[in-house]
């Protein structure tokens, strides 16, 4: 369970370019929930994910996981149970390594002992399920894949690392509609089959309206809507 209590994040506090990115946000995200966050540019969506990852320290308020305060936990420690896939396909993979090596890195968490691991069967199965034929090219450098292929590989890597929590920041934004829906199907499956909590940011309303169980809207650092997606999207469709 992820909780925020009265969370505020101020960038460059006390300087003239001070910027309040999150204002008194209080939230509870139960285990296994699939949350979609929407909102205009600069609303503070990515900042929220950065707090979860420990990349940004809250200015005030608490960030809690399972009743433990995580406010000043090191990013690589938090990463032991948090996975992430971002918009830029090159950030989720290691371009200079082969697909096989990428999968090996993803299969384990933390600094590792001197050993020579090979690709797990589970990884190949996941890759095959993508239907991109990547399983036959595992000696290929990941940097040579297309954006959609990289993003799919990044998702497989995120699953392999067995996170409790998966953070997705516009992870389909740079993909064509076909690849995007394939990656979205995979996202939904991760949530369903592996029971991984997902927090997904998107600007694509079509995706926001068809995936995830909870929909949240952030504007200027504040949560303005928060509810079960079906009800929210029905409500908006009535209004328009």
């Amino acid at each position: 369970m992820v909780e925020f209590k009265d969370l505020t994040v101020v960038y460059n506090q006390g300087m003239e370019n001070e910027r309040v990115a999150l204002k008194n946000v209080s939230l509870t995200i139960p285990e296994g929930q699939f949350v979609t966050i929407v909102g205009p540019n600069g609303a503070g969506k990515s900042t929220l994910l950065k707090v979860i990852l420990g990349e940004v320290q809250p200015t005030s308020g608490l960030y809690i996981i399972d009743d433990k305060t995580m406010n000043c936990m090191k990013p690589h420690r938090l990463a032991e149970f948090i996975g992430r896939v971002y918009q830029d396909p090159n950030t989720g993979i290691f371009p200079a390594l082969t697909i096989a090596e990428n999968l090996i890195i993803a299969s384990k968490k933390g600094n590792r002992p001197f050993r020579f691991s090979s690709v797990k069967e589970e990884a190949i199965t996941l890759l095959r399920d993508l239907g991109l034929g990547l399983e036959d090219r595992i000696k290929t450098k990941a940097g040579e894949l297309s954006g959609g292929q990289k993003q799919s590989l990044a998702m497989v890597m995120a699953i392999l690392s067995k996170p409790r929590l998966l953070l997705l920041d516009e992870h389909t934004a740079s993909l064509d509609p076909d690849s995007a829906s394939r990656v979205m199907e995979l996202t939904a499956r991760i949530n369903r089959e592996y029971d991984i909590t997902i927090i997904m940011i998107t600007h694509n309303m079509e995706i926001a309206n068809s995936y995830g169980e909870r929909l949240m809207r952030l504007i200027e650092g504040e949560v303005v809507n928060d509810g079960i997606r079906e009800i929210l999207s029905r409500a908006t469709s009535v209004m328009c």
């Binding site: 090191k74 990013p75 690589h76 420690r77 990463a79 032991e80 948090i82 996975g83 992430r84 090159n90 950030t91 989720g92 993979i93 290691f94 371009p95 200079a96 390594l97 090596e101 990428n102 090996i104 890195i105 993803a106 384990k108 968490k109 933390g110 600094n111 590792r112 002992p113 001197f114 050993r115 020579f116 691991s117 940097g143 890597m157 995120a158 690392s161």
Partner: protein
């Protein structure tokens, strides 16, 4: 032959530069300092009567220490890696002068048989101890005046034995490195080089990897500094000057020659590059005077070489972009017709 031997030692140094600049992608400038440190420590060790192979090991070890300091300053104190390297390099300049006890130190032909003892004296045994030692100082002194031939691992005979030794060392380093890079921790090191923030998502600490990368790189550089000093028979304060640039030139030279051939994770290319670079260098030294080159121009030439190659790569990619733009314009105007 001498050129080949020197080239290989420089190639080994370039291998260190390759690890920092290419594999972990950190532009580390410790090189000049750690090369000189390796040289100073190795010669000092031989002077103190330690066997040459211990001297070489100490050179590698102190190089590694220098690299780990740069890495720690860079990661823990959040100091830019270029600055961290320059700071450590500057510190090492003073350290090296102390290690050598002066601006230079030749490898002696003979060393005192009881040199280990004199090493302790140099490294500053306390006044109290020496008071006690004073009692039988006469016998001690007499003994320490007995000398034996210092065993250098190099004989400079050009009989192939030096070359064999250098090739053995380089092969050992390359084989160990390529196995290490294939292992799980080595894989994370390469991963860090290709996407530094990405490793964090898999629970791996960037600090550990950056420090490890710089430690390994400077360990190799210190080792080559030690070999270089024993091979040339001396160490001096400026022995490391311009080594980063030389190493980088060798790396680039190797990349040009071996191109996309990435055997052993590309570890061979800086070594080949080092040999070629050293060959060109000595040719330029030998025949360059005819067109007015001085030996002192070499550093200028080396840097210009690096700028030219990187510049050409840049130009060719922007040239391609221009071509694409023209193509777009052409298709666009055609479609309007």
């Amino acid at each position: 032959m001498a050129i080949l031997e020197q080239g290989l030692i420089i190639g080994l140094m370039a291998l260190g530069v390759y690890i920092s600049f290419r594999i972990v992608d950190l532009p580390d400038l410790t090189t000049d300092g750690s090369f000189a440190l390796g040289a100073a420590v190795a010669v000092r060790a031989v002077v103190s009567g330690l066997p040459a192979w211990v001297a070489i090991a100490l050179a590698a070890g102190t190089g590694a220490l220098a690299g780990s300091i740069t890495g720690t300053i860079h990661r823990k104190l959040k100091i830019n890696v270029l600055l961290a390297g320059i700071l450590v390099m500057t510190m090492l300049y003073s350290v090296n002068l102390r290690v050598m006890g002066g601006p230079n130190l030749p490898v002696p032909r003979v060393v005192p048989e009881r040199a280990i003892q004199s090493f302790e004296e140099m490294s500053g045994s306390t006044g109290l101890e020496s008071l006690f030692e004073e009692i039988d100082i006469d016998t001690e002194k007499r003994e320490s005046r007995r000398t034996v031939v210092a065993k250098n691992i190099f004989n400079n005979d050009l009989d192939g034995s030096d070359l064999t030794l250098i090739i053995l060392v380089i092969s050992a380093v390359t084989v160990v490195l390529s196995i290490a890079l294939r292992s799980d921790p080595g894989m994370t090191l390469r991963a860090f080089g290709s996407n530094p923030s990405g490793v964090v998502s898999f629970g791996i600490s960037q600090n550990v990897l950056a420090i490890a990368g710089l430690t390994i790189a400077n360990c190799i550089i210190g080792l080559s500094g030690g070999l270089f000093a024993l091979y040339s028979g001396f160490s001096d304060a400026t022995i490391g000057q311009g080594m980063v640039v030389t190493g980088l030139a060798s790396v680039i030279m190797g990349e040009i020659l071996l191109g996309r051939v990435k055997l052993f994770y590309g570890l061979l290319s800086p070594i080949v590059g080092g040999v070629i670079y050293q060959t060109l260098l000595s040719l330029a030294m030998r025949y360059g005077y005819r067109i007015g080159f001085l030996a002192s121009d070499m550093k200028l030439l080396t840097a210009v070489f690096i700028i030219t190659v990187i510049g050409l790569r840049q130009l060719s990619s922007s040239g391609r972009k221009r071509k694409v733009k023209q193509e777009v314009k052409r298709l666009w105007s055609n479609s309007k017709i």
